[in-house]
């Protein structure tokens, strides 16, 4: 039997230090993360929430007016939590710049930041946002200023990107490949070198024909400097992965009751268990439970009778029937998920009729996250 996810037990447990909200785009991850953080702060935790790309009104609800790369304490009228709530929006480019500056010393840093290849990687490579989110999480965790960090994840197409992108970026930036491309002969220690060396030099030539020698040279200069600075991106990605696997980190998978979102959630749950990362449970977000106990058949036959004599009553019955159909579909989809993942705890969060844009709305979602299931 599927267990109900007990959100309050999760956020009240002092051993819970990091909660990562993941899921595919458009399922309400950011709102869930914010609601969770508000609730945790009001229940006494020193909380910080790291949001990635919040809708403007949600950011305003947290008192965030601009991208600030440091957390700021949320002070909004009517919000006096027992603990504290800090919030920040990730500034991907600045996080990357700061990382370079911290590690490279002023002169080398300026040279790196001006490298055209750096401009490309820091703004448009698809894994950079994920990588920087992890980097920021690592920084926040290292300060020990908060006892609970709630993290939103980037709005990727696939929830798995969050786990995969950092290592994709790091292997792309790892010095090894560029050494092979710029001088295959010098790349010692590569086991299959003999087999591919001919192919590779043609490949290297082809690549430089296509992307241009200048870009390749920029990339090479960049990576050599970077490699010596950090001992490789790969190592750094490994460290953040360790943080995610540590005790005190929990994953909350957020999904809308839709086939695509649940399929992504399924992949993600399987992946977490494969990587020994602790799943707290699934948040089935924005469900539409039936409020009135009245069968569809009764409602529809009466609706038909009343169509001309009592149009309002007829409309009420019809929209009730629509709602039952929707609720049943959602129930069916969720049942399919729980059959596949009987061990995963689950909580349904009924949809609010309109978008959340203030603290009241976030509190309401927090209540719905924590309230016992509707029978």
């Amino acid at each position: 039997m599927t267990e109900r996810l007990d959100v309050d037990a999760l956020i009240d447990d002092p051993k819970t230090r990091i909660v990562v909200c993941c899921g595919s785009g458009g399922v309400g991850k950011t709102t869930t993360a914010a609601a969770l953080a508000v609730r945790a702060a009001e229940r006494g935790r020193q909380t910080v929430v790291l949001t990635i790309d919040p809708a403007r009104r949600l950011a305003q609800a947290l008192g965030l007016r601009e991208l600030g790369n440091q957390p700021r304490q949320v002070s909004v009228a009517g919000f006096e939590p027992k603990g504290e709530l800090w919030a920040m929006m990730l500034d991907m480019r600045r996080t990357f710049d700061d990382m370079v500056r911290t590690h490279a010393g002023p002169e080398r840093a300026e040279a790196l930041l001006a490298n055209p290849f750096y401009q490309t990687i820091s703004t448009s490579f698809s894994g950079t946002q994920e990588y920087m989110a992890m980097e920021k999480l690592g920084q926040l965790a290292a300060t020990d200023e908060w006892d609970l960090i709630v993290v939103d994840t980037p709005p990727s197409r696939s929830a798995l990107d969050f786990l995969d992108a950092p290592s994709r970026l790091s292997s792309a930036l790892d010095g090894r490949m560029i050494r092979l491309l710029t001088g295959p002969a010098k790349a010692g220690g590569w086991g299959i070198r003999k087999v591919v060396s001919t192919g590779f030099s043609i490949f290297a030539k082809a690549v430089s024909t296509i992307i241009g020698g200048q870009l390749l040279a920029d990339a090479s200069a960049f990576m050599q400097a970077f490699d010596s600075m950090f001992g490789g991106f790969r190592e750094r990605a490994r460290k953040t992965a360790e943080l995610l696997r540590s005790d005190g980190t929990s994953f909350l998978v957020v999904a809308a009751p839709e086939p695509d979102a649940l399929r992504e959630a399924s992949y993600f749950v399987e992946r977490l268990s494969g990587e020994n990362m602790p799943l707290a449970g699934l948040v089935a977000n924005r469900t539409h439970p039936v409020l009135a106990e009245l069968s569809v058949t009764t409602a529809l036959s009466a609706a038909e009778k009343l169509e001309s004599s009592a149009p309002l009553a007829s409309a009420v019955l019809q929209l009730h029937a629509d709602r039952v159909a929707l609720a049943e579909r959602e129930k069916r989809l969720l049942a399919r998920f729980t059959r596949a993942h009987p061990g995963a705890a689950l909580v349904e969060v009924p949809a609010l009729p309109s978008d959340v844009h203030d603290l009241g709305g976030l509190r309401e979602i927090g209540d719905r996250l924590a309230s016992p299931a509707v029978a």
Partner: protein, 334 residues
């Protein structure tokens, strides 16, 4: 404020390359598939193209994951044919290499090493140039009779946030060498994408955020001299309340005694709890309708032809897909 144009225009009817974009979660893939079926009616041949490696079409049409090859995925009433292609960027790049350099079996090894991915990482523009290049090849290909192999090509494009970058090949080319095989081919791609043969449709829901993204994307497309096509409003649910009572009901003012009397006249006597719950459902419905109305007004700013796809309450399966296509045909899609 102007009223949106309804239905499909002649200009859209002449287009051969249709990109379908939209905010994530609005149903891009489903809408692209339905559009493909609708365009394939009357005995035409249409190619569905997927570029983001999600195998969405295979799932929709309930088939095995698509290989990197054009393959028949469905037949369409009236003698039409639908094929699908899943473009794999790495395979496309290797295809180029094979064409211009004799890589031999090393190609596969390079792929396993991640070298190909590395090359596309170095130059993110390369990825998009390869994808649009392959699409162009499909659009331009002719058969032995000299006619185009495909009457139309429908692409499940990247979401609104990334679509202009995807289509703005000229800009992507700045990443690449000034000469070379891909460069030469790309000029033709630029001409096609900015021609009257190409339109970019936008899928949206009647919700605030997707509509805002749609309006922004239209401005961005205009700015890049790319041609917005139609707005496909997805998952349209029937309004159950008459327009005049929406505002009051959304405010919580539902005449409960009138509902009660009406129900009684049909022989339905419900307990107070159930009555209250019915009223609560009605208020939520009205709040949603009011939000949809605001979304429609905002959408009118885009000033584009608009077609609607009804909500399929049982979910999307093959039958539902054909229903959606039929409803598009009824709205003039051809």
């Amino acid at each position: 404020m102007s009223t949106p144009l309804a239905g499909w225009t002649d200009e859209l009817g002449r287009a051969r390359l249709h990109f379908v974009t939209g905010k994530g979660g609005t149903g891009k893939t489903t809408s692209a598939a339905a559009l493909g079926i609708a365009l394939a009616s009357r005995g035409r041949r249409v190619l569905l193209v997927e570029v983001e490696g999600r195998q969405g079409f295979a799932q929709l049409f309930d088939t095995e994951p698509l290989p990197y090859a054009e393959q028949r995925i469905a037949s369409v009433p009236g003698g039409g044919e639908l094929r699908a292609l899943h473009i794999d960027v790495e395979a496309a790049l290797l295809e180029y290499f094979e064409m211009f350099y004799n890589l031999g079996f090393a190609g596969r090894t390079l792929r396993r090493m991640g070298a190909i991915e590395f090359a596309t990482t170095l130059a993110p523009g390369l990825r998009d140039v390869l994808l649009t290049g392959k699409i162009k090849e499909c659009v331009r290909r002719t058969g032995p009779d000299g006619r185009h192999v495909y009457d139309a090509v429908v692409v499940d494009a990247p979401p609104t946030g990334r679509v202009v970058k995807f289509l703005d090949v000229t800009k992507a080319l700045t990443d690449l060498a000034k000469t070379g095989p891909i460069r030469g081919q790309a000029d033709g791609v630029v001409r096609l994408l900015h021609s009257e043969e190409t339109v970019i449709h936008l899928v949206t829901l009647l919700e605030e955020m997707p509509v805002r993204e749609t309006v922004e994307a239209v401005a961005e497309l205009d700015g890049a001299d790319l041609r917005p096509g139609a707005v496909l409003v997805n998952r349209v649910r029937p309004p159950r309340l008459p327009a005049r009572s929406i505002t009051a009901a959304a405010d919580g003012r539902v005449d409960a005694s009138r509902v009660r009397n009406g129900l009684a006249s049909a022989g339905l006597e419900l307990p107070d709890g159930t009555m209250d719950a019915l009223v609560a459902e009605t208020v939520e419905h009205a709040i949603r309708l009011a939000a949809e109305q605001r979304a429609r007004e905002q959408l009118a700013e885009a000033d584009l032809p608009t077609v609607e796809l009804p909500e399929e309450s049982a979910g999307i399966d093959l039958a539902a897909l054909y229903d959606l296509a039929e409803s598009l045909t009824e709205q003039g899609v051809r």
